[in-house]
Point group: C2
Chain length 351, copies 2
DNA sequence: TTGTACGCGTTATCAA
DNA sequence: TTGATAACGCGTACAA
C-alpha cells in the first residue's frame, strides 16, 4: 500500500503551543536529556559531533530561542541597563540616548527607557521599577534630584552613572561636559568680535549647569576687564525653553545688550523668534548665541551659532563607563570639552 | 554585668552582601518560612496581622524589592514590551516613542528601546534579542522590511503592532495615519490659494508612505481638473531628508512649480534652505508644504505650513492596542486622520 | 559521551 | 495560621 508521506519527513515536530519552546521540548523530540541539549547548543565539546548537529537542527526547526529570563535568574545578571531621562521630548536627551543605545547594543546590553518628567516622585518610582527588573546598572541624565533618592541608591548596589547631573554625590559616577569652559568659549568669541554689552539668559530648572555657564560667562568678562552688569543677567523661570527665550528679549530692549548668550539652543531660538516679531534683525542688531547644538539649530534662520556639547559622545562614554564598572574596573569621572560652532546668528556689533 | 548594647536594638539585621535581598533572607531574619514572607508581602489574609506587619517592617528595613525576573519565570509574563525603531535621531520617531512610553509606564509595562538603523539584518537581530528577553509584545515603527522576518514572527507568537509600516502583513496589527487623506488636505489647500503648478517632492526609502502621499496628491489634482505633470513629480534618493529637500529645488527652478508639497518636514526644510541660498523667497516666490509637523517646523523661518500626523497619538494608541491584545481582546487596525497646520511657508502664488 | 540532581527567586498547591 | 514542596527554564557539579 502506498502512502503519501514524502520521504523527507524524518520526524514529526510538535509545535503550535502558545508558550515558547524550551530545551526540554527539544530534549523530548531529540530523545535526550535537557542537559545534553543545553550543552549541544553551547557547543560543549563533551557532546558528540553528530548529536550536537542533530540537536541544533531540531532547535532551529522548532524556532528555539533561549530565555534570557531563566538565564538571568541563574547568572544574576540581566545584561540590561536602565536609562532614566526627564523626557524624550528634549532634543538634548535624544542624542544622549542615541549614544547610550548604540554602545549598549554593541555590547549585547538592552536598554530600558524610563522617563521621570523631572518629577522627583516619578524619578523614585522609575528607579524602583528598574531595580525590580534587576537592571545591571542605571544611567541618569540631567537629574535635578539625586540627593532625594540617594539613600535608596545606597541599598541598590549597582553602578550608577550620572550624565550632566545637577547634584553631587559620593558613590555616584559622573560624566559631563565642561560648562564653564564652554561658556568661556562663547563669551570670548563675542568679545573677540567687539561686543561689550553681552547678556546672559539663564534658567532656573537646571541650577547647577546654569550656575556653571554663568560662571564661565563672568570669568570671560572679567578676564577682558569688564565688570559684569547685573542688568544683563536674567535667570528666567518659564514653562518651556522657547517661552524663556521670548521673555529674555528685555535684555536687548531694556538693558541694551548687543549680544545675548543663552542657556541652551531652544532658549536662543525663542529669543530669535521674539526678536523677529519685534522687528529686530539677528545678527545685525542683536547677536544670539546658544548652547547644546541640537539638530534644529542648523535649520533655524539665521542658523544658530552655538556651543556644541558632545551629546552623542556623552552618551557613548556614559555607557562605556558603565561597562567598565560592570567589569569591576575602577573609573574616574569624565568631563568632556565643548566646542564652538560658528553659524550665522552672531556678528560684530552694529555701529 | 552591664553590656553596652542599647535597648532599641531588637534584632541584628545582616546586610551588605552584593546580591539583592530575597524573601529567604527575610524569612531567616523573621524566623518564618519564605512562603509566609511571600504571603505577608502580598497581603494574603491567611497570615496574621502581626506577622504581616512584622515581616513588612523587616522587608522595608532590608530594602527588599521583589525580583521581576523570578516572577516572570513563573508567570510567563515579563510586563515588558520591545519598541523597534529605525533611529531615535528621527524627530518623527521621538514623538511616537514618547506616546508609547507614557501609556506603557502608566500600565506598569517597561519598554526596551531597540534601533535597527533601517537595516534588515539589524532589524532581525533586535527582534531576536527582544524575543530572547521574552517581551510580551513588540511595537515596530516605520519598518521597511516586515516581509523579511515575517516567517520568524510567525513562530514568535506574541502581539506585534506596526506603526506606519511599509509592508502589509496578515497576522500583524497596524496603526497608521491616513497618508492619502493628509496629502489631499495639503494639495487642496494649495489649490484653494490659487496654485496650479504644484510639485511633489517624494522619497525612495519609505515606498509605501510615499506612494500613498503621491496618490493623495494626484487625486486632489485630478479632482480639480488638473492633469498631473510628471515633470512636477520627483522621488529623490538621498542620504538625508535635508539633502533630498535641497536636491528637489529643480521642481521650482526647472519645472516651474509655484508650490511644492514635500514628503516630510525635514525635506521641506531642506528645500527652504536651498531656496534661501538661491535667493528665492518663501512663500512669496515659492510655497513650501511639509508633512509630519515635527517640533522644528515651528522654529524655522518662515514657520513651516505642514500636515500634522498625530505622532504622539500614534504612539499612545499603538500601546493601547498592544495592551488590548495582551488582554486577549480582538482589535481592528486603526487609521488616524491628519490635520492641516497653517503657518507661514505657504501663500497665494505670486502674480 | 550522556544523565541526574540541584539551585537561582518567586508563587501555588497541598498538607498540617 | 503556617510550612514543606514543586514548578517556571536554564546551567553546572557530580555520577554513570
Amino acid at each position: 500500500m502506498h502512502t503519501c508521506a514524502p520521504m523527507w519527513v524524518v520526524a514529526v515536530i510538535p509545535m503550535g503551543g502558545r508558550m515558547p519552546v524550551t530545551i526540554k521540548d527539544i530534549a523530548r523530540v531529540a530523545g535526550v536529556s535537557h542537559t545534553t541539549v543545553s550543552r549541544a547548543l553551547k557547543g560543549n565539546p563533551a557532546i558528540s559531533i553528530e548529536t550536537t548537529d542533530r540537536i541544533r537542527k531540531i532547535a532551529q526547526q522548532m524556532g528555539y530561542t533561549p530565555s534570557a529570563v531563566a538565564q538571568s535568574l541563574l547568572s544574576q545578571r540581566t545584561q540590561t541597563i536602565g536609562m532614566v531621562i526627564t523626557t524624550i521630548a528634549d532634543p538634548f536627551v535624544v542624542r544622549v540616548v542615541e549614544g547610550v543605545e548604540g554602545v549598549a547594543q554593541a555590547a549585547d546590553y538592552s536598554v530600558f527607557l524610563a522617563t521621570s518628567h523631572n518629577n522627583p516622585n516619578q524619578e523614585n518610582a522609575v528607579v524602583e521599577t528598574l531595580h525590580r527588573r534587576r537592571v545591571d546598572a542605571i544611567i541618569v541624565t540631567s537629574s535635578r534630584v539625586g540627593s532625594l533618592y540617594s539613600s535608596r541608591l545606597e541599598q541598590i548596589k549597582i553602578p550608577i552613572v550620572l550624565i550632566n547631573n545637577q547634584e553631587e554625590g559620593e558613590y555616584l559616577h559622573s560624566i559631563r561636559s565642561n560648562d564653564i569652559q564652554g561658556a568661556r568659549l562663547a563669551v570670548e568669541y563675542l568679545l573677540g568680535l567687539g561686543h561689550r554689552r553681552i547678556g546672559y539668559l539663564g534658567c532656573t530648572n537646571r541650577p547647577r549647569s546654569n550656575q556653571r555657564r554663568l560662571s564661565g560667562y563672568q570669568a570671560a568678562l572679567q578676564q577682558a576687564g569688564i565688570q559684569p552688569d547685573p542688568n544683563l543677567i536674567a535667570n528666567v523661570a518659564a514653562d518651556t525653553d522657547i517661552e524663556r527665550g521670548k521673555a529674555g528679549f528685555h535684555l536687548y530692549a531694556q538693558a541694551g545688550a548687543t549680544a545675548v548668550f543663552c542657556f541652551n539652543d531652544l532658549t536662543a531660538i525663542g529669543l530669535m523668534m521674539e526678536a523677529r516679531r519685534q522687528g529686530v534683525a539677528v545678527p545685525a542688531q542683536l547677536s544670539v548665541m546658544g548652547f547644546d547644538n541640537i539638530e534644529a539649530a542648523m535649520y533655524v534662520t539665521p542658523p544658530l551659532t552655538t556651543v556644541a556639547q558632545p551629546l552623542l559622545e556623552l552618551g557613548r562614554q556614559a555607557m562605556q563607563m558603565t561597562l567598565a564598572l560592570l567589569d569591576g574596573k575602577l573609573v574616574h569621572d569624565i568631563r568632556l570639552p565643548c566646542t564652538l560652532v560658528e553659524r550665522e546668528s552672531v556678528a560684530a556689533p552694529g555701529r
